[in-house]
Amino acid sequence: MLLQRFLVRLMTILVTLFGVAVVVFVVIRVAPGDPIAMMLPPGASNDDIARLRALYGLDKSIVQQFFIWLAGVLHGDFGTSISLRQDVLGLVFNRLPATLELATVALLMAVAIGVSAAILGARSRGTAVEAGIDIASGATLSIPDFLWGLVLILLFGVLIPVFDISGRVSPQLDLPFVTQFYLAESLLRLRFDLTWDLLKHMLMPAIALALPLAAIIAQLLKQSLKEVLDLDYVVLARVKGFSETQVILREALKNAALPTLTLVGVQFTFLIGGTVIVERLFSYEGLGNMAIDAVINRDLPLIQGIVLVFALLFVLINLGVDMMYALLNPRLRHG
């Protein structure tokens, strides 16, 4: 049952990815402006231009180009970046870890803030504290990550300059890293000085990304907790003498978490989508920042590669959440 569900989902994922590839491919090839003309010095001969067009396969029809590109992608070859003249897959893998680390830190912060607020709200339901949490989460939710980023830049970059608001790591530091997962590697190498520097750079963009998600978690989880807290088995736990906080943590949370979990999955993809502009805002050297440069430089192969990697991330997260939901929900497990 679970396997069948998994296979069906896998099929839809392939269809979705194919659709994304087609859409990007068509959209960027209708673009006016010749990427080849942009990379050659003025005064290049027509022969040079034609040779370069042939080199990047731009002299063929769109359909031909698509299938040549697709065949390459299936072999792990995403082509060569026009503006950076390097292998697209290499460039993407070089930047992806920075984005993944930022998104993961943001997700952890969102869950920590959201769950704490939900528990506090459910514990003090009907009081001014709950009303305060409602108002705060409602306002936080309405303000997108881009604006939160700017607010944080003003507060902690200018007013009280305690955090770095630009880059991923202090440029003067000597980095011993062999992978691009700087944060994880600094922890493994026990170089906590570097961890601290990385976190100081990451904290502001991560909070900007985390706040809207934290607000959604707080609202939804609080609602589910309040519903569960009226059920018989929770009342029984209360009668047995557990305190309200114990009841929430030990009994209610596990059963109230399922709807929130599904939502967090979908919202996590929005958070990753938000890294594009937030990375730009904080000059953080991730995939999103590179994507904007790629668009501005009309770097077709690089844009295609990055968008496809983002799409792959999105569908994999959705698949993961779906599977987790199926595993955790007894109705689906035995259905």
């Binding site: 839809t12 269809v15 979705t16 990815l17 659709g19 994304v20 859409v23 990007v24 959209v27 960027i28 209708v30 673009a31 006016p32 409602g138 306002a139 939710l141 309405s142 303000i143 997108p144 881009f146 604006l147 700017l150 607010v151 830049i153 003003l154 970059g157 200018v158 993809t269 990753i272 989508g273 938000g274 594009v276 502009i277 730009r280 805002l281 999103g288 994507a291 904007i292 668009v295 501005i296 009309r298 844009i303 990055i306 968008v307 983002f310 799409a311 999105f314 569908v315």
Partner: protein, 282 residues
């Protein structure tokens, strides 16, 4: 019932506050040439980076100060509101029209129409929206209509998903069945019976989407891909403010406050309208 009454009493002020701010900003944008104290494009290097009126060194007539080219910040904000509201209305209305139509068809007719539309929505949802918007505007060329088209092309899915779900549940209701027995055609039922019942959700989403459109326009201006750089836009002022943040913080603070107020107002206004229309809460 008690809860509903409390909720409604709590809603009115937020509807008033949000609506009030939006009306004020809209009127300022419409009558910008009459209200703006200065020419928003006039540069004067003698007046560069003047602080807002309550600080030392401020010049009378430049209430919120000037940017690094000596242009009056308040006038630029007022004129920037014009583009923000044009984009908000045009983009949200287009996204709403496309998304609601497709959502209504998918939800009410079901079958292969639903399968095709839902698959397209899946594909659309797999794009990072901001990157998609930047890509589309880069392709279409910068300009007001490109920004509006890009937002509509990306955000129709928001309407489609909600309206599809609503139309699906409405289609199963008794009143639809009785309309069918009474001899109405499928499209007639969809437009006359189902559409009015999904309208409250559409209105709330529409207001929310206007706020989103304002933000997307600001983001596009921020990466220098929106309207021509001469016309003042909120995002353009923010981009300029981000650069001179250590010399002239006000160039970032005032457009940021304006944007936050506007976005909050659009979403609160939408929520307030939805609660007012919702028969369960009413």
């Amino acid at each position: 019932m008690d809860e509903a009454r409390i909720l409604r009493r709590g809603l009115s002020p937020r509807l008033w506050l949000a609506g009030g701010w939006l009306l004020l900003a809209l009127l300022a944008a419409i009558f910008a040439p009459l209200i703006a104290p200065q020419d928003p494009l006039a540069q004067d290097l003698m007046l560069e980076r003047l602080p807002p009126f309550w600080l030392d060194g401020a010049e009378p007539g430049y209430w919120l100060g000037t940017d690094s080219l000596g242009r009056d910040l308040l006038s630029r904000l007022i004129f920037g509101g014009r583009i923000a509201f044009i984009v908000a209305f045009a983009a949200a209305a287009s996204a709403c029209l496309i998304g609601s139509a497709l959502g209504l068809i998918a939800g009410y007719f079901g079958g292969w129409a639903d399968r095709v539309i839902s698959r397209i929505v899946d594909v659309w949802m797999a794009f990072p929206p901001v990157l998609f918007a930047i890509l589309l505007v880069a392709v279409l060329g910068t300009g007001l209509s490109s920004v509006i088209i890009a937002i509509a092309v990306i955000d129709w899915t928001r309407f489609c998903r909600v309206i599809r779900a609503e139309a699906m549940s409405q289609a199963r209701m008794d009143y639809v069945e009785s309309a069918r027995i009474a001899g109405y055609g499928r499209i007639g039922i969809m437009l006359r019976e189902v559409l009015p019942n999904v309208l409250p959700s559409v209105v709330a989403l529409l207001s929310l989407e206007m706020g989103i459109a304002v933000i997307v326009e600001a983001i596009l201006s921020f990466v220098n891909l929106s309207i021509s750089t001469d016309d003042p836009t909120w995002g353009g002022i923010i981009a300029e403010g981000r650069l001179s943040i250590h010399q002239a913080w006000w160039v970032l603070v005032f457009p940021l406050i304006t944007l936050i107020f506007t976005v909050l107002s659009f979403s609160q206004f939408g929520e307030g309208l939805k609660a007012r229309f919702d028969p369960v809460l009413r």
